[in-house]
């Protein structure tokens, strides 16, 4: 107890006092920790929000369902409903058939060729049947009939109102979060049509039901079936057990019955809402983990800097340590004291970081949401919330970072003998041997190289995470940091000729010839930030280059058409067969190719089954091959039943290749498909199996298409034809070739927006760290500064010397960082990206970007250092810290 009170007394009197006297440095250090923690927290919150927003829309109507029954591909026929009811017998369970459509508001004239407009989810459920569910009973009112009359006429008015509403044409109910007032009707793009749907009312909500997403609309099932031309079809059945004893036993019994009827998953797949949510979770896991790892960069950079700042403090306060040791304070207590100090900094920085993170998350959440929307599933993410767990994690991260970075300085403080500590003019510490060991650095890099040969970690859902790849990256960053620091004295010697330029350069280079541990740390931190940023620039540049080539090769048609209602990765809008026939029959069209896509569950993983016109594809829009078909059989309808092409992601995901056979469930039974070739596809991370549309249409009994490519007769103006088609079918999105190419690239770049932001924050932290380093170095050199002033050095010259010192540190970091970036770029492209997404990219180095980054970092380093030098030039010799 007494020991504890002494500890806190010493902390207050000796430790925290110094931080109070140096508000600038303290603020900078806190800002570094806060930024590191803040970036991590921001990404964590944004990730959580994006996944949490995977709304099971039906829940707002049914409450928690117990089981979901869905076809492995395409729709379920309604005829399975009586079959399932009969097999379940008198078991008390609600069967809720659901048809789900997506739509969007009609595009404004200036956004007809942009993807990513708001999207509506339209649920078709039996609005009378759902009134039997406990959740709807709790809502207190049903869907049909809303007479406001009272008194004697009320009953007959209610009767009339009910039947009028029940028997009326298509109408929608809107989310109570839609807006303040209920519109009379709402315009929705459904398939390729723009429909004006009467609004019947608000969706009734039970008091404790989940909030209804604002973009949810509800229609009576038969109406939506009719409207979408999907009579007799449903997308899933939700089973809701009625309350009573032995719920788990009943639940399992029902699952067994459903699975017995499912013909081993070829008729339907039985899943639980939890597993569906978990699929959404795992589908995006690789993407989110990648973001989380990137978000740790700023913290990693921060760790170097906290370490360096505390190390500096140990050196500057060695007199005080010596006094304490002389007074009999034990080494253990001194170590604990320093640890407590670093933990306090971590705690305060972590606290600030949580606030920063929350603010950042509000911006990041949109970016994460956009990517999830474009690549995975529809999200309604609006804002990121902060939970107690997030706060705990943020604070822990701050404290752990503080403790981790403070470990070596605390050890140094407690181990140095008092006599040595009291010496004046002691040479600055060279830093830990670990940070100076070139063999160790080379060894780490070598281990990293070995790790790149290891495969990715595979999730049950099919997602992959390149854990060895990231471990290699961290080893290279650390090893590279040591090597960059090793460069520093050599660079100073190599720049010896510059010393002749004046006393400021001589002075700066003399310091760098024998760099302190803090110099090395500053280099390592900046090296890490520059390396990662430039590495990411290489990845993005390579992606851009590859996708541009792919787009140029794949997109050969003059016009591309899809429903303007399809605004997210899981949109279900199509172009109806009659409209497609009308479009391809346009007099300006010389050739066309349709593509139909159905989500497919294969081997318990999500992918896409697509059907296209293979012959047209071969003639007019050859695929970029990864593994070209050995013969032409796959392109001829007469010979290609049972043959298919798969995307590169598909081969990675399902571990198959050319010549392998697949058993693919379809509404017409299981089909055996042999993989004839593998093509590159950067538009879909889940992979795609491509078959001839003739067979797919027959199996699915539908002639609808997901999108159409049109080739125009020579001399026809694409814009004129586009305008003509839009006039006839206002619900279409019609992209001229160049626009679609640009749009595809825009979406790709959008997915990298957040990673860029993370890298820039990392560089920012590192530059702040450089300022902190030089401040601390100048504080150490108070005696020297006094001497310099005495022998006639002007403020300007001192500032110049510091600027040269900072610029050289930055240049060493940039040199090492650029080398690192090439290695990281290679690693990200050929290991991390390939293992995460299965995409092969060409290697393209954006030299201009890398050059600009190097110049900016060196100049910023010089500028910040100059500022610190101006400040340091006035430091008195006896200044108390």
């Amino acid at each position: 107890m007494k020991r504890l009170s002494i500890l806190f007394l010493l902390l207050r009197r000796c430790g925290l006092r110094h931080w109070r006297y140096e508000p600038g440095s303290t603020a900078l250090l806190l800002a570094i920790v806060a930024l590191g923690v803040g970036v991590f927290v921001a990404i964590r919150l944004a990730n959580e929000a994006a996944v949490a927003s995977f709304t099971r829309f039906t829940e707002t109507l049914t409450g928690q369902s117990d089981w979901l029954v869905q076809a492995p591909v395409g729709a379920l026929p309604e005829s399975v409903l009586p079959e399932i009811r009969a097999e379940l017998g008198a078991r008390p369970v609600h069967l809720v058939p659901v048809l789900q459509a997506t739509g969007s508001p009609p595009a404004a004239p200036d956004e007809t060729d942009r993807f990513g407009r708001p999207s509506y989810t339209i649920l078709g459920v039996d609005l009378l049947g759902v009134s039997n569910l406990a959740q709807q009973l709790a809502a207190g009112r049903g869907y049909f009939g809303n007479s406001s009359q009272r008194g004697a006429e009320a009953a007959s008015a209610e009767t009339a109102s009910f039947w009028t509403s029940f028997q009326s044409g298509p109408q929608v109910w809107l989310s109570p979060r839609w807006g303040d007032s209920l519109p009379q009707e709402i315009e929705v793009v459904l398939d390729e049509r723009v429909l004006a749907l009467p609004v019947a009312g608000w969706i009734p909500v039970a008091p404790d039901a989940p909030a209804v997403p604002p973009n949810l609309m509800v229609m009576d099932l038969p109406q939506l079936q009719h409207l979408t031309g999907r009579e007799g079809q449903i997308d899933r059945i939700e089973l809701v057990l009625e309350s009573g004893p032995r719920p788990n036993e009943r639940r399992q019994e029902i699952r067994q019955i459903l699975e017995r009827l499912s013909a081993e998953g070829t008729r339907w797949i039985v899943s639980s809402p939890e597993s569906e949510r978990s699929t959404a979770n795992t589908m995006t896991r690789a993407f989110r983990l990648n973001l989380t790892v990137l978000s740790l960069i700023a913290l990693l950079v921060g760790l170097y800097l906290i370490f360096q700042a505390l190390d500096g403090a140990v050196v500057r306060r060695r007199g005080e340590i010596a006094v304490l040791r002389s007074l009999g304070v034990e080494t253990g207590m001194i170590r604990t004291l320093w640890w407590l100090e670093s933990a306090t900094i971590g705690l305060a920085g972590g606290g600030l970081g949580i606030g920063l993170g929350w603010l950042g998350a509000q911006g990041a959440v949109r970016a994460v949401g956009q990517t999830v929307n474009a690549l995975y599933f529809e999200t309604t993410v609006q804002a990121a919330g902060l939970t107690v767990a997030d706060v705990g994690l943020g604070l822990s991260l701050g404290v752990i970072s503080g403790l981790f970075a403070g470990w070596w300085p605390a050890r140094a403080a407690s181990r140095t003998p008092p006599a040595q500590l009291l010496q004046r003019g002691l040479a600055p510490a060279k830093g830990s041997r670990v940070l100076r060991s070139v063999p160790l650095a080379v060894g780490m890099i070598a281990v990293g190289v070995a790790l790149t040969f290891l495969p990715a970690w595979r999730f049950e859902s099919g997602g992959r995470f390149p854990v060895a790849g990231y471990a290699a990256a961290f080893l290279w960053i650390f090893g590279g940091g040591v090597l960059s620091a090793w460069l520093l004295p050599h660079a100073a010697r190599a720049l010896g000729w510059w010393g002749r330029a004046g006393p400021a350069a001589t002075l700066a280079l003399s310091h760098l010839r024998r760099p302190s541990g803090r110099h090395r740390l500053a280099v390592a931190a900046l090296h890490c930030a520059v390396g990662m940023t430039a590495g990411m620039a290489i990845l993005v540049g390579s992606f851009d280059f590859t996708v541009k080539n792919w787009v140029q090769r794949s997109l050969q048609a003059d016009l591309y058409l899809s429903s303007s209602g399809a605004q997210s990765a899981n949109a279900r809008n199509m172009i109806r067969a009659e409209a497609a026939d009308d479009i391809v029959g346009h007099p300006a069209v010389v050739a066309s190719s349709g593509l139909v896509a159905y989500p497919l569950t294969l081997r318990q993983q999500q992918t896409l089954l697509t059907g296209t016109d293979m012959a047209t594809l071969r003639e007019r829009s050859p695929l970029p091959w990864v593994d070209e078909p050995r013969d032409q059989a796959v392109f001829e309808t007469a010979t290609n039943e049972g043959l298919g092409l798969v995307s590169e992601s598909f081969t990675e995901r399902f571990e198959v290749g050319r010549g392998d056979r697949l058993e693919v469930p379809t509404p017409s039974g299981v089909k055996r498909i042999t993989i004839a070739g593998v093509f590159a596809d950067y538009g879909n991370e889940r992979g795609a199996l491509m078959l001839d549309r003739v067979h797919v249409n027959r199996w699915f009994d539908s002639e609808n298409v997901t999108n159409l490519s049109l080739w125009l007769k020579p001399g026809m103006d694409a814009e004129t034809v586009r305008a003509d088609l839009l006039q006839q079918h206002p619900g279409l999105a019609v992209y001229p070739n160049a626009v679609l190419r640009a749009e595809v690239l825009r979406i790709f770049r959008q997915t990298f927006a957040i990673t860029y932001a993370l890298e820039v924050i990392g560089v920012g932290v590192a530059v702040m760290g450089l300022a902190l380093t030089l401040t601390s170095v100048l504080l150490d050199r108070r005696d020297e500064l006094t001497t310099l002033r005495a022998i006639g050095f002007k403020h300007r010259e001192i500032a110049r010397a510091t600027a040269i010192e900072g610029a050289t540190v930055a240049a060493a970091a940039v040199a090492g960082g650029t080398a690192l970036s090439l290695a990281l770029g290679w690693l990200l492209i050929y290991v991390v990206n390939k293992q995460s997404f299965g995409w092969t990219l060409g290697f393209a180095i954006p030299w201009a970007q890398l050059g600009a980054l190097a110049v900016v970092v060196v100049l910023t380093g010089a500028g910040v250092s100059w500022g610190v030098g101006r400040w340091g030039a006035d430091l008195p010799a006896d200044r108390e810290e």
Binding site: A90, G142, E158, W163, P245
Partner: protein
């Protein structure tokens, strides 16, 4: 929507009103069929649905005891309604299920409303009605054996075989049961007044074998209740001597009883015979759910057709709270298992009593 559903039930139940007759027209003003005198019933066809009529229901009540432990006693209700839309283009199917555990006093009930289709419907030409997991079907047309599968959520489920112990009773004159003064107000009213029930009952997770007796009405009409009527009371009594009594009283807004109210004895051979009656409420019960005040113990005074003597029977609920609170349909009513007591205080049979129009919010 709530009130609409009230009307469905109100309209359906009101269909059992017995009234004086005139020759009815073939159709109502809105085009629905009107029951015609002399209609030739044909079974099993007429156990099935009659789509041309506006309202139709199959209504079962009964008493069950556990085979191994007769002290464990239950009363149950299972009803299936079909109601056509005003234009006759479609139907709605509404069902009510209720069960009371006499020993513990627990009363459970549930309602279900569905459109016709895969989850609700009534076959034409044979008895086969279903609504969700609940169903009633004629399993053996020759023996007139029926199977009833009902329940209340997962808390109670019953699977019963029902065998008629007496011939089917066709109420009314010349096959038509008149409902009121209006020429279209009439119904076909078919009743199995005594069915032997046997099967299983799962009560709160425990399945037991049960047996007992049940009562079933099947009524077909296109009529509606008059505006001056605010509710009705109905009792089916199964006496230990092999006879049954069916009595109902229609209550008017002015507090009087409608002349169409009626009491009918069914003799051991199944022959119905109307008798005059009086209805006196001896005690009342106030609902804790909505404050409605219902009759509890009721004394019915009538003439015993066998002896020609005036006789008093008292009908007394086995459990006070057997109120269906109308969570879905919006019309609370009391319907429950009762015992029948004679003038000497001796229990002489069992009954089911229905009391409607007592809840405060009932409007018509």
């Amino acid at each position: 929507m709530m009130k609409l559903r009230r009307l469905i039930i109100w309209g359906c139940l009101a269909g059992s009103i017995w009234a004086r007759s005139e020759t009815p027209p073939p159709f109502t003003a809105d085009g629905f069929k009107v029951p015609q005198p002399g209609y030739q019933f044909e079974f099993p066809r007429d156990h099935g649905s009659h789509p041309g009529f506006k309202i139709e229901w199959w209504y079962l009540t009964g008493h069950l005891t556990r085979v191994q432990d007769p002290a464990m006693r239950f009363g149950f209700q299972a009803t299936f309604f079909r109601q056509a839309s005003p234009d006759g283009a479609t139907d709605l199917f509404l069902s009510h299920m209720a069960i009371v555990n006499v020993a513990t006093g627990e009363f459970l009930h549930q309602e279900r409303l569905n459109r016709p289709g895969w989850d609700a419907g009534a076959a034409v030409g044979r008895l086969d009605v279903h609504n969700g997991p609940w169903s009633l079907a004629m399993a053996d047309a020759a023996a007139e054996t029926m199977r009833l599968r009902g329940g209340v959520r997962a808390e109670a489920q019953w699977d019963l075989e029902l065998k008629p112990q007496k011939p089917l009773v066709i109420f009314g004159e010349n096959g038509v049961s008149r409902k009121g003064d209006a020429p279209t107000a009439a119904s076909y009213y078919l009743t199995y007044s005594r069915l032997a029930a046997s099967g299983t009952l799962n009560w709160q997770g425990e399945t037991v074998e049960v047996s007992g007796q049940a009562w079933m009405d099947h009524e077909i009409s296109s009529s509606q209740l008059g505006e001056d009527q605010i509710g009705w009371d109905w009792i089916s009594m199964q006496l230990d001597d092999g006879r049954e009594i069916m009595v109902y009283q229609l209550r008017k807004r002015d507090g009087t009883s409608d002349p169409a109210s009626s009491l009918t004895w069914v003799d051991p051979a199944g022959k119905p015979q109307r008798q005059p009656f009086t209805w006196k409420v001896q005690t009342t019960w106030t609902s804790p759910h909505n404050g409605a005040k219902y009759p509890a113990k009721v004394r019915v005074t009538t003439t015993d057709p066998t002896t020609g003597q005036t006789t008093n029977v008292v009908v007394e609920p086995l459990v006070a709270d057997q109120e269906l609170t109308g969570d879905l349909a919006g019309i609370p009513y009391w319907e429950g298992a009762c015992r029948v007591i004679d003038g000497t205080g001796k229990v002489i049979g069992q009954a089911y009593m229905e009391l409607t129009g007592y809840a405060k919010d009932l409007e018509l």
